[in-house]
Symmetry: C2
Subunit: 476 residues, 2 copies
Amino acid sequence: MAPQLDGFFKQVDDLSGHFIDRLGKAVAIPSVSSDAARRPDVVRMAHFLETELKALGAEVELRPLGKQPDNPSLDLPPVVLARYGRDTAKRTILVYGHYDVQPAEKTDGWNTEPFELTVGEDGRMLGRGSTDDKGPVLGWLNAIEAHQKAGVDFPVNLLMCFEGMEEYGSEGLDELIEAEAKNFFKDAEAVCISDNYWLGTEKPCLTYGLRGCNYYAIEVSGPGQDLHSGVFGGTAQEPMTDLSRVLATLVDTDGKIQIPGIAEQVAPVTADEASLYDNISFTMDTLHESLGSTTTIFEDKKSTLMARWRYPSLSIHGVEGAFSAPGAKTVIPAKVIGKFSIRTVPNMEIDKTNALVFQYVKDQFAKLGSKNTVKVSALHTGNWWVASPKHWNFSAAAKAVERVWGVAPDFTREGGSIPVTLTFEQATGKNVLLLPMGSSTDGAHSINEKLDKRNYIEGIKLLGAYLHYVAVEPTQ
Amino acid sequence: MAPQLDGFFKQVDDLSGHFIDRLGKAVAIPSVSSDAARRPDVVRMAHFLETELKALGAEVELRPLGKQPDNPSLDLPPVVLARYGRDTAKRTILVYGHYDVQPAEKTDGWNTEPFELTVGEDGRMLGRGSTDDKGPVLGWLNAIEAHQKAGVDFPVNLLMCFEGMEEYGSEGLDELIEAEAKNFFKDAEAVCISDNYWLGTEKPCLTYGLRGCNYYAIEVSGPGQDLHSGVFGGTAQEPMTDLSRVLATLVDTDGKIQIPGIAEQVAPVTADEASLYDNISFTMDTLHESLGSTTTIFEDKKSTLMARWRYPSLSIHGVEGAFSAPGAKTVIPAKVIGKFSIRTVPNMEIDKTNALVFQYVKDQFAKLGSKNTVKVSALHTGNWWVASPKHWNFSAAAKAVERVWGVAPDFTREGGSIPVTLTFEQATGKNVLLLPMGSSTDGAHSINEKLDKRNYIEGIKLLGAYLHYVAVEPTQ
């Protein structure tokens, strides 16, 4: 039997002004994690959450994470760990969010004060952190409060993990998650992360996959120092010539990776998976608008989405050590470092991919017959993540979406990475669901970041509804 | 009959302390032309020369050049025009030098104060401008003074043109030279520029050729703004991919330019010219030392010098608009501009070379089948220069070198450009000679710039001796 949600929903509507005020209070705390001078505000934001959670009856701990690695005089902000409910008859769900934000200054081009939540007639709620990720974090608190005020029994035991360094590399978080997997998080039966976005603006989605990212550097060096092209042009083999010739062999204009063995690792598309793409709410027009151009590789939606989500891609990011300023400078750079990355997908293996890349770059360089030297290395690697969208965690969320939004969600992947997703999956061994609240136009890291009032209020209902459905969803 | 120079030479030796003091006074004026705050010092340096020249009995004019184009509130420093002698029975020689210098700060890594001439036990005279180009400029003044004090008749009428913006693009100078070609410079029968360096440290040279430089930009653009490689990798054609693929087609590792038609423009090597290379004082070891590596294209002296002086070369300088900092950034740049230049030689024509480059880049880009757009343009062009080393201006200078240094000079070209050389040749229609004073190790634009006392004092003798030989050298 479907959960009875009307009372909860009505209470969310009745409390909507209160919930918007709560978001306003949170946005007013400029918890910019990348700015050392703002660290006290980040800590203040942790205390704000602690106070609000305690007022709702949750057990709360602020966990220190030690010093910031690249600034050892600075304490990392604490992770807020909270538990609401200890009923052994109920399922236990672990949710994650972050309470830090990207930097923002009015002078960056904001139409409103970034740290004042400004609600427009059109329902756009502008403010730094509104959608990334204070709205979703408060969504869980608001869902608890609406249950209490509606007198509806909370359907699960809720474990919460809210961090304050997500916008600065989640320093210290992986270790905490691994340590707490068998402690604070040990009862968790599934994980839900609300820190991404709908594919568009009209239709909710559930995200079951993310690509990984292996980032490479090709360093070519020869001369002992930069040279003048007048004096040495024609005399010395030039590292920049060699690097250009190697970079050119990596990928073609249509994105086909030229490194042998990469394509062979990619999991074949199953019929089940292929069927997920057909009805996804997405148009090439939307893509052209995001790109600001029509220079796409594919002309159709399905090929484009598959290229973005479930096939690897290779991008050349730039060259370090060469002349990069405007104007003309007649330098022969002595050492240049080309940077490129491969977005990885199931079933690519990091080590195998690295080995293929290293060998290919060395082979291509060897073909040049150059006396210069080459080094190729991985600057960082991060694995892909994919969950089964058939898992009860997803099917419960899908039912909640249908109940709140009246439409079946799209099942999507994302081309980028949210590394904490993989960490939670690996540390807890449980299914992880990405359940977005905001829409694709929210501008999370941009000026005029916003969350639509509709997405916030219906999003609170969705988070609550998800907990009701997940509480009763049969395991398969 | 060879000129009688012993009295002049002895006087130079007797006055060497005085001449070093004069250089010290000049070095003490920080006439940095690129620094607007130093402009009064540049003007002060012009007045210093005016005063010294007038004391020697020269007629002097300080010619204003108007406002600095990129800073219209700033007056350009004047050109010092001077004439010494009006004897219609004598030849008239025009000499050029510059009295401005490169920036220098002790904190850049100088061992001494850059604007204090410091004479070491080893004869190294350290100071900004010592070799570039205050030593040579004062060389002409010193030669006049030594003639006067020795009671030796000055062998020519000397026209002098000393500018104060050479290190900042010689703003305004071309127009002045063109205007004065039929006025202040109208009597000039030959031109001598002392603003370059010996090929090595032990043997003087006379320089009869310079390469030109055409500097190109290839701009590839697609998306409306930079993109995230996670979100858009595999979706959009990437400008950086296309640019890398085009850059790779320009030149091979051994410096062979791949653009059809370039090589065909190059003048064939004559037997006369080829013979100039055999005895040149230059070793591959010296080159390896300058390079800081052994990554040369050729293994032998002659091929190397010809590649540097009389064949074109192509260097890729870098990429504007892409990620160029250390570290890893997963950006897909929306617009990238690759910069490269071609060092040009006789008989390459600028317009023809540009046309070949533009067509080739467009053809290579077209082969990619990309929807991105390409623009290729020349950021600047400058012609090559080559004079006949058989001209009486050179043969006189060669005799002067043999008299002062006891050795026949090497006849050299340079791979870089000194644009004023070509301007003087074209404006006056006269033969131009490059007669260097300093050696290859002087570090003109570097920290610890120096001029060896030997090069300065023997250089003063050389400039004077050159004027004696040029006064009597028969025209062919």
